[in-house]
Symmetry: C2
DNA sequence: CATATATATTGAAGGTTGTCAATATATGGC
DNA sequence: GCCATATATTGACAACCTTCAATATATATG
């Protein structure tokens, strides 16, 4: 255990460096919105069958806002889109969700 | 599996209601900041021995910013403060961290 | 009590995020 | 090609977040 000189510990090195902290907080920020969580939940529940108008009907926001959140999730690799005629069906990317979950779990383990 | 009428599924009920979604996204938002993650990490690493000036020295932000993030973490119940003379020593609240972790895990399980 | 130090609070400035109306793009049917 | 429908994009506005200098508060010491 470190010795004190005056008030402070001599040196305090974070195990979590700035870059990794940024990466994890980015992951968290993507999930940290109620509409996005509900979208992910609906996609998980009705895998592969959900189009944007389904989401628009189920959620308390308008179509451009749904599209906006879908874009954020798409760019994070958490969901994928497949066009079928007029409609675009969205699905969860279980791999990416899994990866994100493991990174978060590892972080929680350090805090535990 | 649901029948389609026109484009959309007939009804799409989120398992995750708006209130629960808000609660989880609040939890996530508290963690979704690199400085707060680094603070939690440092507190976990040096349990009970870390004062604000230690944090200020270890992190790339000024003292009022450290205090600001400490307040957010305190109000979320993730950390506690104990004054000893001039200094205030912060610790992680493992219980709250644990609770939060379990809520997030449960949510991830639904997405998995 | 005056001084010095540690931490908290306030208030201002700048940046980011969330939302929506309006508009654009893509597709299918006539 | 024209119309209707589904989704995406743009741009504007408001709300919120982050940061810091300045200031306030708390405590210890002489």
């Amino acid at each position: 255990m470190a010795e004190r000189a005056g008030c402070c510990l001599p040196k305090l090195a974070p195990r979590l460096d700035a870059a990794e902290a940024r990466r994890i907080s980015n992951d968290l920020a993507i999930l940290a919105h109620p509409i996005r969580l509900q979208i992910l939940d609906l996609l998980a529940q009705y895998q592969g069958q959900v189009c944007v108008c389904d989401l628009e009907a189920a959620l308390p926001v308008k179509q451009p806002t749904v599209s906006h959140h879908l874009k954020i999730l798409r760019e994070a690799g958490l969901i994928t889109a497949e066009r079928q005629g007029l409609w675009i069906y969205y699905s969860i990317c279980c791999d990416t969700v899994q990866t994100m979950r493991e990174r978060l779990l590892a972080q929680f383990a350090l805090l535990g």
